[in-house]
């Protein structure tokens, strides 16, 4: 990892920063990986309902070994708890909730995000297979799509780009991106810089980004 990408927020801090954007009363869907860390964030008394694609509505924190219920997992296969008022439904009803627009925000990981709001998170270059899961349903139908990802690849190449190079998951849907370097909003021409992580300069962030960064 390059010096640029080792700075800034760690995974939990990226999740924390994005979770602080959740508004009172929102139904929030968290994807596999860093997004699941959002449910650990303390956002005060805001009333958030977490929805998992496998039909779990109203789940809480991941439970430690020994306390977990093996019949209950979130989208990442983690054994979570249920909050008062939780409900269990089957997959078709879970995606009915998604397609009918009841999800206020879906938070997902990605390989790439583009300045026009496209993103790619299901297929790498040079492979036949892909892993879509519920990403395309969520991306097409949630009211908002937020992305959390490392700002650059392990080789130091930018993941925030003018246009996606990988097959897209959905077009023009991403409105907010948290990376280890800060918080950014796709704005068409580039990425509007909402906030920089501590110790990260605008120049360093621009250098790690494959599209113009627009100062706040």
């Amino acid at each position: 990892m390059s010096a640029t990408t080792s700075r800034g927020w760690d995974r939990q801090q990226m999740a924390d920063r994005l979770a602080r954007e959740f508004q009172d009363g929102w139904i929030v869907n968290l994807g596999v990986g860093i997004p699941t860390l959002c449910s650990n964030t303390d956002i005060g008394d805001r009333d958030i309902t977490y929805h998992a694609e496998n039909g779990v509505i109203g789940y809480g924190p991941v439970l430690p070994p020994g306390q977990e219920d093996l019949h209950l997992v979130n989208a990442g296969g983690q054994n979570v708890s249920l909050k008062p008022g939780a409900a269990i439904i089957h997959h078709a009803d879970s995606f009915a909730i998604i397609r009918s627009g009841h999800i206020d925000v879906t938070v997902m990981g990605a390989y790439e995000v583009a300045a026009n709001g496209d993103f790619a998170n299901w297929k790498m270059g040079g492979t036949k297979g892909g892993g879509i899961g519920g990403a395309m349903d969520l991306a097409a139908c949630a009211k908002r799509v937020f992305i959390i990802l490392e700002h650059t690849t392990r080789k130091g190449e930018p993941r925030l780009l003018r246009a996606c190079t990988l097959p897209v998951t959905a077009r023009g849907v991403v409105t907010l991106v948290a990376t280890n370097l800060g918080l950014f909003a796709p704005s068409g021409e580039g990425f509007a810089m909402r906030e920089l992580a501590p110790g990260v300069s605008f120049e360093a962030a621009q250098q790690a980004t494959g599209a113009p960064l627009l100062p706040a």
Partner: protein, 246 residues
């Protein structure tokens, strides 16, 4: 409702008639609802040229449990229909992946909500439907779309199957099922979509009428064979519970 019991004596007996070329749906999402014991019996039974429908081909996590990836390794699978034909983390390699990369098995990659709805449609007498999912992506290339009320939708076809293999928590002898927590996932939809639904059941099978009619998740109309799961280690429970038993 028929009062003749649907209980079958063994997992082997329950899957004995599955022929070569059958289309089989496998329940489960990240563990709960996965029919490990019926899958193990199908590995021993040996039916070939199968089309396997499931969320994933499995095998991303240890300890390894019977899954579609094992059926592929055993030379039993012609095609899979799944929401994952590769792991989401590029560094993870599913056991299925090398067989797919070498062209030894076909795959149809389907978004998870579309997979669920295609199964539901098959079980509901709906031959096809339009969905906004996957519009504008590689998956929609060359396929029929339609503008409805100003938005573009993709045509998707129902996904009927010959057999569904699922796991439930409780059943009565008439085949009425209850699932526990996230065990439900795809299982009720697969039961609807299949001509023959075979269920491995965690609790001892109850007499017909013992379940509250208001609390049935899948009615016995969609269920044909029930096999109670013996205690571990004789039978397979969840991977985590298996780990503890071992």
């Amino acid at each position: 409702m028929s009062r003749r019991g649907k209980g079958v004596g063994s997992f082997a007996e329950a899957v004995a008639d599955i022929p070569d070329g059958a289309t089989i749906a496998f329940g489960g999402f990240a563990g709960p609802g996965t029919p490990y014991n019926l899958t193990k019996a199908l590995l021993a039974q040996g039916a070939r040229r199968l089309t396997c429908i499931a969320n994933t081909t499995g095998g991303a996590h240890q300890p390894r449990m019977p899954d579609i990836g094992m059926l592929v390794e055993n030379g039993q699978v012609a095609k899979v229909v799944c929401a994952f034909t590769a792991a989401t983390r590029p560094t993870d390699v599913l056991p299925f992946t090398p067989f797919y990369e070498r062209g030894e098995v076909e795959a149809e990659l389907v978004p998870q909500g579309t997979l669920a709805e295609r199964l539901r449609a098959a079980g509901a007498g709906i031959p096809a439907f339009y969905t906004p999912t996957a519009v504008g992506t590689e998956l929609a290339e060359g396929r029929e779309t339609r503008m409805i009320n100003g938005r573009e939708y993709l045509l998707e076809y129902a996904l009927p199957c010959d057999y569904a293999l699922i796991r439930a928590w409780r059943a009565d002898a008439a085949g009425n099922l209850q699932f526990r927590l996230s065990q439900r996932n795809f299982c009720p939809l697969m039961a609807m979509a299949a001509k023959t639904t075979i269920v491995e059941v965690e609790e001892p099978i109850l007499p017909t009428g013992a379940l509250d009619p208001d609390q049935i998740h899948t009615p016995g109309i969609f269920v044909h064979r029930l096999v109670p799961i013996p205690p571990a280690p004789e039978a397979l429970w969840t991977a985590r519970r298996q780990e503890r038993t071992a």
